[in-house]
């Protein structure tokens, strides 16, 4: 499931830390990017790689908002709904996103292309409202700007990093 190349990178990553368990979250990020989400097999692979129990690994993964234990879309859109973004129109933006994609926050489009997720403060309040698409910030987002971004995303013209 995990390529030899990735595994070799993990072997190097583990050496950074006095205790190899420290590499767990960085490894989960990369495995998630490679597999698409943290599937049962992915959890089992990571657990075996770090000699931890699958329940232990899953317990850790389930603590963090960016680690997905259920399948998610190819692209992930995080929309900040915290205070400053809300003051400047986040809820309007979220409704616009939901309408455009025909899904609710927390859901994935039927074609498996895009998932939506509400996020807490992204540290982008000075340029609110903010969203993140595949790890890249988009700030002072308006409904018009959002439409352009979605268009680019569908055409594969939006650079991002899923790790």
């Amino acid at each position: 499931m995990i390529s030899d190349e990735t595994r070799k990178r993990f072997d190097e990553l583990v050496k950074r830390y006095p205790e190899k368990r420290s590499a767990l979250i960085p490894i989960l990020h990369e495995v998630q990017a490679e597999v698409g989400y943290l599937s049962p097999e992915a959890i089992a692979w990571v657990a075996a790689y770090l000699t931890l129990s699958p329940a232990d690994v899953m317990s850790v993964a389930s603590f963090y908002d960016m680690l997905h234990l259920e399948p998610v879309g190819k692209h992930m859109i995080y929309a900040c709904h915290n205070l400053t973004c809300s003051l400047l129109g986040a809820e309007r933006l979220i409704r616009h996103l939901e309408d455009r994609l025909g899904i609710r926050m927390g859901e994935t489009t039927p074609d498996g292309l895009i998932s939506l997720k509400r996020m807490e403060c992204l540290a982008s309040c000075g340029t609110a409202p903010a969203i993140q698409i595949d790890g890249v910030y988009y700030e002072r987002v308006t409904p018009q700007k959002l439409d352009e971004l979605l268009e680019k995303l569908r055409n594969g013209r939006l650079q991002g990093s899923r790790t």
């Binding site: 995080y78 809820e91 403060c121 992204l122």
Partner: protein, 428 residues
């Protein structure tokens, strides 16, 4: 007298991108050789104590004192961890510092590691800082390339490795022991104290956790002296501070200023005042955990002591400004939703209390509030403070208490009218 910027001086330079060469051209990496050649580690701790530098993450603890808590001769290795988990709503200065001027942080990190005797340091970035972490990785490679990191740094015999470590989305990892748990590959659940990290932190070894902005100050203190630094701003809140101003202001952004600046000057002179001819209604001066202030507090200086005396706190320096279209019950609903979502779930009062605060505020905002709800909220807030492993519970309670203190009538109207009077009129 115009304030001379220190941490963000680079922002006035055209086309500055924060590479190592640009940083060096602007006087960067001069403090490091000075620190290594002219000072013993203990001297540096003393200098930082004398400078009056206080932590910029939220608690405002004196940095040099924190360093001094680590044992002098520890059989275990010591660690320095840079807290770059910036997640306090309303705060966006650390992200700017790592993305735009990463070497200032790295130089501060190296000097600080030398001061406390650390040979392996980590920068813990919140998971969402994908590009910020990439910038830091690139900057670290540059620093290794120039001999500022690695073995025998600048011929001093001092060795240091630094790694960037990304979290995965959890506010509580900004709490220093939650951060250490997360860095050890666990759930980010805060630890019981004592022992404090200075005695038993990362891998049960003596550890110092310092915020990005705090460490970014260190090169300047070393280069220009503790007395120069202590002379900036009020005596107990020395040095420059980055204020992240957001919300209903003309020019939101990060403003580097001495802490003698008043809320009024910050909002109206620097951030351009309230747009659309509206009036200021409320301002949160130190991140969403800080109790709210109102127009009557506008002349309060932004130092730790003055803000505490005004009933709030300096916190993380995140200043959220709200105009008179804003419903404070809705603000309470949003803020309590955040703490509800972010409670790690260990302590009863916090796990259940944050959920109930959110639930009660939501029902008031949506016209289902009950007469007894306001007393219930206050009683909950009171019981949620000071009783838990970390202060997330306090952070959830304090703002809600303050909204009720300053805007009780607004809550009462919601309950009496069984509706939000701002519905459809407000911006959110």
């Amino acid at each position: 007298m115009a304030y001379e910027k220190i941490l963000t001086r680079y922002r006035d330079l055209p086309n500055y991108t924060g590479t190592i060469d640009e940083y060096i051209t602007q006087g960067g990496y001069q403090a490091l050789p000075k620190a290594l050649r002219e000072f013993q580690p203990a001297d540096l701790i003393e200098i930082v104590k004398r400078s009056g530098l206080r932590g910029r993450g939220g608690a405002g603890f004196p940095c040099g004192v924190k360093w001094g808590f680590t044992p002098k001769d520890s059989p275990k290795p010591k660690y320095l961890v840079c807290n770059c988990d910036e997640s306090e709503p309303g705060t966006f200065k650390d992200r700017m510092l790592i993305e735009e001027e990463p070497h200032q942080l790295i130089e501060g990190l190296i000097i600080s590691s030398y001061a406390i005797g650390c040979r392996l340091a980590f920068i813990y970035c919140r998971g969402e800082f994908v590009s910020g972490a990439q910038v830091l990785e690139r900057a670290l490679r540059e620093a290794y390339g120039r001999g500022y990191l690695g073995t025998n740094i600048l011929g001093s015999g001092f060795d240091l490795d630094v790694h960037v470590h990304r979290g995965a989305g959890a506010y509580i990892c900004g709490e220093e022991t939650g951060l250490l748990e997360s860095l050890e590959g666990k759930r980010g659940q805060p630890r019981m104290k004592p022992p404090f990290p200075a005695i038993s932190g990362l891998y049960r070894s003596p550890t110092v956790v310092n915020n990005v902005e705090t460490l970014s100050n260190i090169p300047h203190i070393v280069l220009r002296g503790a007395e120069w630094y202590a002379g900036i701003g009020p005596p107990k809140s020395a040095g420059p501070r980055l204020f992240s101003v957001s919300g209903h202001v003309e020019r939101p952004g990060n403003y580097e200023l001495p802490m003698s600046i008043t809320l009024r000057e910050l909002i109206f002179d620097h951030a351009g005042g309230i747009p659309n001819g509206r009036r200021l209604k409320a301002v949160i001066p130190g991140g969403s955990s800080a109790p709210v202030l109102t127009e009557q507090h506008l002349d309060v200086p932004m130092d730790f002591e003055s803000l505490a005396a005004a009933g709030s706190m300096g916190g993380s320096g995140g200043v959220i400004v709200m105009d008179d279209t804003v419903c404070m019950v809705r603000v309470g609903e949003i803020v309590s939703r955040f703490y509800h979502h972010e409670s790690c779930g260990q302590c009863t009062q916090c796990r259940e209390g944050t959920a109930w605060l959110h639930k009660v505020l939501r029902r008031i905002e949506h016209g289902q509030g009950r007469k007894e709800d306001l007393d219930l909220l206050l009683d909950m807030c009171d019981n949620m403070k000071g009783k838990t492993i970390c202060v997330l519970s306090d952070a959830a309670a304090m703002p809600i208490e303050s909204y009720l203190k300053h805007f009780r009538e607004e809550f009462e109207i919601h309950i009496r009218e069984r509706a939000c009077p701002f519905e459809g009129k407000g911006a959110f």
